[in-house]
Amino acid sequence: MKYTGNVIKYGDNVDTDVIIPARYLNSSDPKELAAHCMEDLDSTFASRVEPGTIIAAGLNFGCGSSREHAPIAIKASGVSLVIAKSFARIFYRNAINIGLAIVECPEAAQAIQEGHRVEADMDSGIIRDLTTGQEFSAEPFPEFVQRIIENGGLIQSIANGQIR
């Protein structure tokens, strides 16, 4: 699976409280959550995000709460992929489970800048910064994890008979 999009860049320790503040957790509707995604960190996110946007971030992305609303909000915003130096473990698991593509690649997360156009091939783990021509190599997910993401998450994969 390939993802192409323009990059929105953030720093280290982007926590789930800024990804989706708890005051909006009285809903689990993806559209409603997407409307408030990132608003305490970056009030311009909702107006800048577009279908395919790629987030590049630093260490420990998604730290804090276990709220699955966080990857749901990011995915429903139109983001196709999150590249980070590292992910907090619950977010990492939740992203796969709900079918949000993520990849750990410290070099790419460091080098890629705001507004760059990036293409990522999740089968090979090759990430290309189309703006600078730089290429990075990440460890690709095992095939079963890729299938979970492509099927839109764990439950959907089970429903589709991809996982038994």
Binding site: N26, D40, S86
Partner: protein, 422 residues
């Protein structure tokens, strides 16, 4: 090769003689937990699996604690969805207003977790039960749904950091100061993907309440779980609360650790984590005059009876500073009742504090104490992220119940040593 405590528990639940760090395993679950925020998402996912019943109605629990008593219509609808699901599936341990408490204070109190268990909860602070020798970790709603359906979850076996405790705590210093100190040393991702395993001769000086507080915040160092060696104090606690028969696992003498962190408890001072990360830990020589607007004493981290006793000792016969709103939240109905019988509520109310029904409320900026623009709070909760307790420009300072109570009296961040020496 030797195994850590966590590895032994996971091996036993996967039906394996041994496991090693990095191995993927499928483990049997002893308990699956959700709350009123995470369960509705799990219930919707569960419905897509087409299962008529949960894997074991005694091993699934839901606690209505985050936005309960319902803060608004949407929150009410979420609790209603949980209530109806638990009714339909005949879930034994459903805790609604009147019986509920903050989940991670409630479950140990009700004896629902025991040493040697594997517990998943759709709440990041599920790591609390490691204090009692369980492997216990936070997951999302999809994992909760699958856990409810099949009673199993996959895990990558974690490596571990060993935290070796020596000495004993000084007066007015507690488990909260220890965990803030540790996070300050290793950072908010210092234990990412790994276990924090606590042991050493200093362990015996820590109360079970201190251990629950320390394990609770293992996630704030990025840990998969925090776990304590099981001693007589832990076994006594489990027995007193009617928990299932404990299965005690000890780390092998030759267990592999990524690193060993030594903490001399006698050197720990009252510690405060400054905004906006729990790793911004400071002791009072590094804290100037920081005026505050609010104090919160409660939460899954510090809402136990021992925490309220520590606050009451400092507030007794004194008045909270004018202009500071002091909100005290017993974590469970039992804690509330015990605090009442011990006269703590009277001390709080006479000092000028308010006492609320159990709820997570203000900790996550839900209700019952939201901060306005630019306001500051000293709280005994667990996170001080941007906007955590209200407006994105408000500030949260994490501290122990003793430090929070001392700060309530002065209206600025204050060491309990300063107040109690007078």
């Amino acid at each position: 090769m030797g195994m850590t405590m966590t590895q032994k528990i996971l091996a036993a639940h996967a039906g394996l003689d041994s496991v090693q760090a990095g191995q993927l395993i499928l483990a049997e679950l002893d308990l699956v937990l959700g709350n009123d925020i995470t369960s509705p998402v799990a219930i919707k996912e569960f419905a897509k699996l087409g299962k008529d019943s949960v894997f074991d109605k005694d091993k699934v629990t839901m606690v209505m604690d985050h936005f309960a008593p319902n803060k608004d219509i949407k929150a009410a609808e979420q609790c209603k969805m949980c209530r109806e699901f638990c009714g339909e599936k005949e879930i034994t341990h459903f805790y609604d207003v009147g019986e509920m408490g903050i989940e991670h204070a409630l479950l140990p109190e009700k004896g629902l977790v025991t040493a040697g268990d594997v517990v998943i909860g759709a709440d990041s602070h599920t790591c609390t039960y490691g204090a009692l020798g369980a492997f216990s970790t936070g997951v999302g709603s999809t994992d909760m749904a699958c856990g409810m359906a099949v009673g199993k979850a996959w895990f990558k076996v974690p490596s571990a950091i060993k935290v070796e405790l020596t000495g004993s705590l000084k007066p007015y210093v507690s488990g909260k100061d220890v965990i803030l100190h540790l996070i300050g040393r290793i950072g908010v991702d210092g234990a990412l993907y790994r276990s924090l395993e606590f042991s050493g001769e200093g362990l015996s000086s820590l109360t079970v309440a201190d251990r629950l507080c320390i394990a609770n915040m293992a996630i704030e160092a990025g840990a998969k779980n925090g776990i304590f060696a099981v001693d007589q104090a832990a076994l006594d606690y489990l027995r007193a609360h009617g928990a299932r028969e404990p299965r005690v696992y000890s780390a092998d003498p030759d267990a592999q650790y990524d690193e060993v962190v030594q903490i001399d408890l006698s050197q720990i001072e009252p510690t405060v984590a400054f905004p906006h990360l729990p790793e911004n830990a400071r002791t009072f020589s590094q804290i100037g005059d920081v005026k505050i607007n609010q104090v919160v004493i409660g939460s899954c981290t510090n809402g136990r009876l021992e925490d309220l006793q520590a606050a009451a000792e400092i507030l007794k016969g004194r008045k909270c500073a004018k202009g500071v709103r002091v909100i005290i939240i017993p974590a469970t109905q039992q804690v509330y009742l015990d605090a009442m019988e011990q006269g703590l509520l009277k001390i709080f109310i006479e000092s000028g504090a308010v006492v609320s029904t159990p709820t997570c409320g203000p900790c996550l900026g839900g209700h019952m104490g939201i901060l306005a623009q630019g306001e500051r709070a000293v709280t005994t909760t667990n996170r001080n992220f941007v906007g955590r307790m209200g407006h994105p420009t408000s500030e949260v300072y994490l501290a122990s119940p003793a430090t929070a109570a001392a700060s309530a009296l002065t209206g600025r961040i204050t060491s309990p040593w300063e107040v109690m020496e007078k």
